[in-house]
Symmetry: D5
Subunit: 96 residues, 10 copies
């Protein structure tokens, strides 16, 4: 099942730069793992914000929560999850 996940990063403007750089690197690595596992399917930046929107695949909301909460930035994230149902006109149907 797919989910639309909107993530805002609430890192403080005056936060520690070294810690931030470290977390950014870890986050990119975790994103690669989630991509390889087939969990993270698409990811975009919300322009002008430290925020992203993505299409995630998980068996259910429990598995999705495990994936999202595995992100190194998780304590600083404001996350909104929308469940997605199949649409008969979806060009992506049958292509996965």
């Amino acid at each position: 099942m797919e989910f639309l996940v909107h993530i805002e990063v609430r890192w403080p403007a005056d936060g520690d730069e070294a810690r931030k750089a470290e977390l950014v690197a870890l986050e990119a690595e975790r994103a690669r793992e989630l991509r390889d596992a087939g969990t993270l399917r698409r990811l975009w930046r919300v322009p002008g914000r430290w925020a992203n929107v993505g299409v995630w695949e998980a068996a259910d909301a429990t598995e999705l929560h495990a994936a999202v909460s595995s992100l190194p930035f998780f304590p600083w994230l404001e996350v909104d999850v929308s469940p997605l149902a199949e649409h008969p006109s979806d060009p992506g149907l049958g292509r996965a």
Copy 2:
């Protein structure tokens, strides 16, 4: 450039059923054309609602508006468009 497009269909509950069926068929056909043109890339139902969320590709907002307003149901649609920027961790990058 990709856009996230959220569409709610405001068709009246007591609307004409024959007209509705006709528009649904036309809408499915138009969706196929937009898919073939590479404009409509993903489409999901919002569960519980007559609504969908999709990933659309267009050169810019002008071309996107032309595509969305070509939908047969357009006069009954409430549409919200969010621009999407590339994210370096997007699994879909370089795959199109």
Copy 3:
């Protein structure tokens, strides 16, 4: 997987009373079927409103949409679906 489903009924105040009574009866019957199928697990009235909130069980959002849209009042419903993840402290865990 469980979903929290909030439903408001937008039946017009001056709607046809006979049609309304017929739909109410059909809705109760459909609710019984969904209960028997294990889809509808709990259902409450929102006090003061023609609205309800329920706990629904479905394999995924696609199956949930099929269930919700099978309600006779569906064209008059405003529905909000929230996905639910398991909580380790849920008293209901392992009891279904």
Copy 4:
């Protein structure tokens, strides 16, 4: 009487980890007590967030407040309480 209770935990991202672990353990224990007392009937995680939604049973809002405010994390909680009325189609009616 049942209540739908939505809880967001506003623990600071850079909060003390030892204190947090201690409170998490106390919270789980308190949840068990509330379950054994029949006060907490269902509990789910809101996916992607440090938040939960639950079905609580209490004689009235005063008793409910006593239960919620007994949670060790209470000073960090943002809580929304919705009263629930019985629905004739509730599968859970007569089962408690």
Copy 5:
């Protein structure tokens, strides 16, 4: 248990005046009955609107719903119900 109940009347501006007058009279009578039954304890107009806010007493949300939905204008009402818990500083405590 007490509830704070906010009611907006969505009667159409061009609605039938005779029907409206009839319903207003019935509503006043029903309010008197609810007062006599101890259900309706206080009632105020929201200035500038066809709306009111009231303090209602009921055993639980189910009984409250029965009371509110017994109002003759119920099909035209938009109602929001907030549960109220006792406050140790309430001047009304012990006075009912």
Copy 6:
């Protein structure tokens, strides 16, 4: 004239406990004085929150502001004031 006053207490979760206890005691005393003065007529806890809703009596908004801003917790309060007009069906009319 009566006012409906909703108050949320924004005391920091990690605030000083001794100072908080002192303010709580002062607040209860001030509430008693406002009750004796006939200013505070009813007061309820909003269940699940450090918040209350009350019915206040004051000659006008200026006098009401003086009363609310005399609360020891005032600098930490988020207050919303709604003016109340008499309703002919108010059970409390003529009883004060």
Copy 7:
């Protein structure tokens, strides 16, 4: 006591023009009466909308409601009333 009153006119776009003209004339006349009575003190158009914002004077919310609901357009109005308290720096203090 003064109130800030925001009024939106919800007259239907395809409403009867003669009836509208008649009500506009009656509304202007009623405004003059309210001005002469000292009830309506200032009135502005909200630019771009059929809406206005005004400063009204009334003994209390009950008297204010009587004044606002005396407007010929009242059944079509969406009105929000905010109570105003005296400010020591108000240039208008002592000038009325």
Copy 8:
């Protein structure tokens, strides 16, 4: 002075097509006149909606209201006006 004006057109989906075409033509002509008068300086479509956002120039809000309310579609418009102040970094400063 410049204003940012957001306009949504609330024309009914099943409105008369001939009347709509006539108003669209009149609206385009009025837009040309407002452009020639220097009142309408920029205008964009909000993609996906029958809506636009524009930069308008007027001596004050009164003159702006006269301009906006001169649009043939005015009775069907939902308009939000935001006043704009000069910014020292505006590339358009001194260019008008």
Copy 9:
């Protein structure tokens, strides 16, 4: 041109009292100057809040911004500005 200006003061509850008293005095003085300059015409307290609403006069939004941002508390203010257009029924018309 007149503007309706709503100001909330976001001074921290545990802010320095001496600095606050100093700013309050400076603010009152600045308000007097703005009154004498004809910029600040009316000012009210929003009851229950450290907030005010005022009627300001300025040539345009640029001049208004200069006036508002000259307030000593400006860095702590949350300000919303609404432009006001003349209304033919304004009792204040022709009286300034």
Copy 10:
């Protein structure tokens, strides 16, 4: 393609004044560069706030994000981006 960009600056009221002055100077310089590059086309202050609204030109949302995130104040900015489509009545069409 053009974008409407709304920016609120969330610099703390008690932030370091020297650092702020330095960033303001850098921001003005960056704005000049963006103007010279044709990226920033118009910029206004939102009166009463440390906020601005601007018309930006970029090939797509990715390029726009690069421009906005190059602002020295970026970590303190709350940014909302709206895509703009061409309108046939835009006075600016064909003038760039």
